[in-house]
Symmetry: C2
């Protein structure tokens, strides 16, 4: 292994070892996909949580990516409610659909239970505490959970390291590809950009006696390209782009679409990700005929499936755009109308953030459509779970709509 | 800030910012300690889980230390059962006493619940599934949990970063020091050896476009020394030493005792840590009178509070030791006698691993006592929780014994 080796997806899989559980995981996915195909269900692969990069073979230290798995676990729940079968591929111990509502820290389940004296000679038993027996949130979560168990529409896989993740992603994508356009790939995991090849790893715990620590890592190969071109066939692929510098969001989302050729990038900024996201899509448009002597062709602003909502569109980034190929639409949604206690939080969405100037494109025929999706700020604490609007509900509704169109327009 | 700055505890706290919740956490600890002191209880600080080192101010990536928090959460439970009040200072989302038995992955609590039809016009309610109502494990955990809640003997604090941890550790140690010898410090957290000073941190997510990633970190100051000498007064301090290279375990444990002057190091090796640990203590002995012309004084082998168990001692590292100041004792314990199904797993403990030659000591009057503590291998899967022996039960029993002696010999 050269010190300066740069990994392609091909050289990565040729040199890095497969996780021991891979064959077993693949067999379970094959069985799951076959069953869903027989029942004519769409299947979505949801990846969730952060991947780690171990620094030692006997792992004591590792590099990690910030993610509790909220986006993925919440999204999986809404996909299940929408009738999809879900392969939930998540970081071990990250949040999972349904149980995510009962974190041991904030909502410990032992507080839901009570020891009930049997009375007389009868032994003690465990029961649900009186105040939780008719709890609407618990009933709702439990009912949805049991329904999914009966339907058999949720299949869970776990990963820890970025190596586990890459091997699993390739294998599951290949298995899902038999569904062609009915397969969706929703890549919400926070995947490491850098890793330490097995061949460079220290066997034992790095000792601290020698002063400061130097780590040098290689880039993780960009697997979206082989995923689009080789592992899947006509699947609907959604990737996420998380940034902390909001000015990088749109340019980087566009660059990803240009480079990998998949369907949608959902962009989100670390601190506002629960309130707003942006869907970025490519639109290929025929070049308008060039008038004689013209240097620059400006394609018309493209339109998306949605009609922009006029009142909100007035605030939209499109108004500030300096190029007409920077078409931007806004999808607005307030809190659900059944939220009778949340009126104070309803109202117009927050104004969109200033947007970076669009990236320049060599290919002027490439246009992008950006659709912002926002929810109103959260209702005050003490509101019941059912009253709290989650942005994932709207993200999944929008994706299901687009995926349906994608299947029908095949 | 100099590039090459090396941090003492003093310069660390002078330059790195305190976590925002510190004042509130200190106030809660003050109240807790005062209440326990009034009730004449011993108090132990248990630290648990791994600390992180963020690489960016807006955290996307961080270095982490491998730890689910099993050792700390399990130990806290046994301290509570032994009548101690416990300040459980743990990594956010790491395992906690009692709830640790119900991981969302391996023992999801929603499987304990059922929706029960109200019948007729009555609404649905939530109940415990029939097979769990009389579950002995659940009853036992729940009873212990409720008892601790009523007694008010568990106080929980959380940290994420190594910076949170260091600030909290200093503050809690200072608060606990009013209890003098009745305070114990059980430092089971997996604390980063390296960190990135605030002044060197990148504000935004490190971009991956520029090839490989280089990280250079500074050493975290060794805080055990100021903890012994300044933050606490006569407290009983137990630190842990985790290694993957077993040959480093004893030498490093001894070096820590020499350097910091605390009471006990519990050494454990990553892969055997649930089956065996070694207690390492210092014994100061007067030098025997030197015979005329003698170059080397060999102090007598020291004895510990325990009598070594002869049958096991025959296998013990002491037999292979080349120096008599390398006194080693073995404390052996099989599965509990009530484990009627586990007979196949009982038997002599595994032979101890070969041991590294003892470190050389400038001060020949310094001797060490090593006491191995082992449990038999685990019973087969399907055994109930109550039948599974946990090594923490014996670790805590031994520490309570030593701490009691420490208090009485004041």
């Amino acid at each position: 292994m050269q010190e300066s080796a740069s990994f392609s997806a091909e050289s990565y899989f040729a040199t890095q070892p497969a996780p021991p559980s891979l064959a077993e995981d693949i067999a379970s996915v094959q069985e799951f996909v076959a069953r869903q195909a027989a029942q004519n269900r769409n299947v979505v692969l949801v990846t969730s949580g952060g991947t780690t990069v171990p620094l030692e073979l006997n792992v004591v230290r590792f590099l990690d990516n910030f993610s509790a798995g909220t986006r993925g676990a919440t999204s999986a729940e809404y996909f299940l409610k929408a009738g999809y079968a879900v392969i939930f591929m998540h970081r071990q111990f990250s949040l999972q659909p349904f149980s995510r509502h009962y974190s041991h820290s904030t909502n410990p389940f032992l507080d839901f239970l009570a020891v009930e004296g049997g009375g007389g000679a009868a032994a003690d038993t465990v029961g649900v505490t009186a105040d939780k027996r008719a709890d609407a949130d618990l009933l709702s979560v439990l009912t949805a959970y049991k329904r999914v168990q009966v339907a058999g529409t949720l299949h869970t896989l776990t990963f820890v390291t970025v190596n586990d993740y890459l091997w699993l992603l390739r294998a599951v994508s290949q298995e899902l590809s038999v569904l062609r356009r009915r397969a969706m790939y929703y890549l919400a995991a926070a995947v490491s950009d850098f890793f330490l090849p097995r061949q460079k790893m220290s066997e034992h715990k790095i000792q601290s006696g020698k002063g400061s620590l130097h780590i040098e890592m290689d880039q993780v190969p960009k697997v979206l390209k082989p995923m689009v071109e080789e592992w899947t066939r006509d699947g609907y692929i959604v990737s996420f782009k998380l940034e902390t510098d909001e000015h990088l969001l749109i340019p980087k989302a566009r660059a990803a679409l240009e480079r990998y050729g998949h369907q949608v990038v959902i962009g989100n900024e670390l601190h506002t990700r629960k309130m707003q996201v942006v869907f970025v899509e490519r639109k290929r448009k025929p070049l308008p005929p060039l008038p004689p002597g013209a240097e620059d062709a400006e394609p018309e602003a493209s339109t998306d499936i949605n009609e922009p909502i006029p009142s909100a569109a007035a605030d939209a980034p499109a108004a500030e755009s300096t190029r007409t190929d920077d078409a931007t639409e806004v999808v607005v949604d307030g809190n659900r109308t059944t939220n009778e206690d949340g009126e104070a939080t309803l109202g117009p969405p927050p104004p969109p953030k200033p947007q970076a100037p669009p990236a320049t494109h060599d290919d002027e025929s490439m246009t992008f459509v950006e659709s912002w999706l926002r929810i109103a700020s959260q209702p005050p604490a003490g509101t019941t779970m059912a009253q709290v609007k989650e942005i994932e509900e709207d993200i999944i509704a929008e994706l299901v709509r687009r995926h349906t169109a994608w299947i029908e327009h095949a």
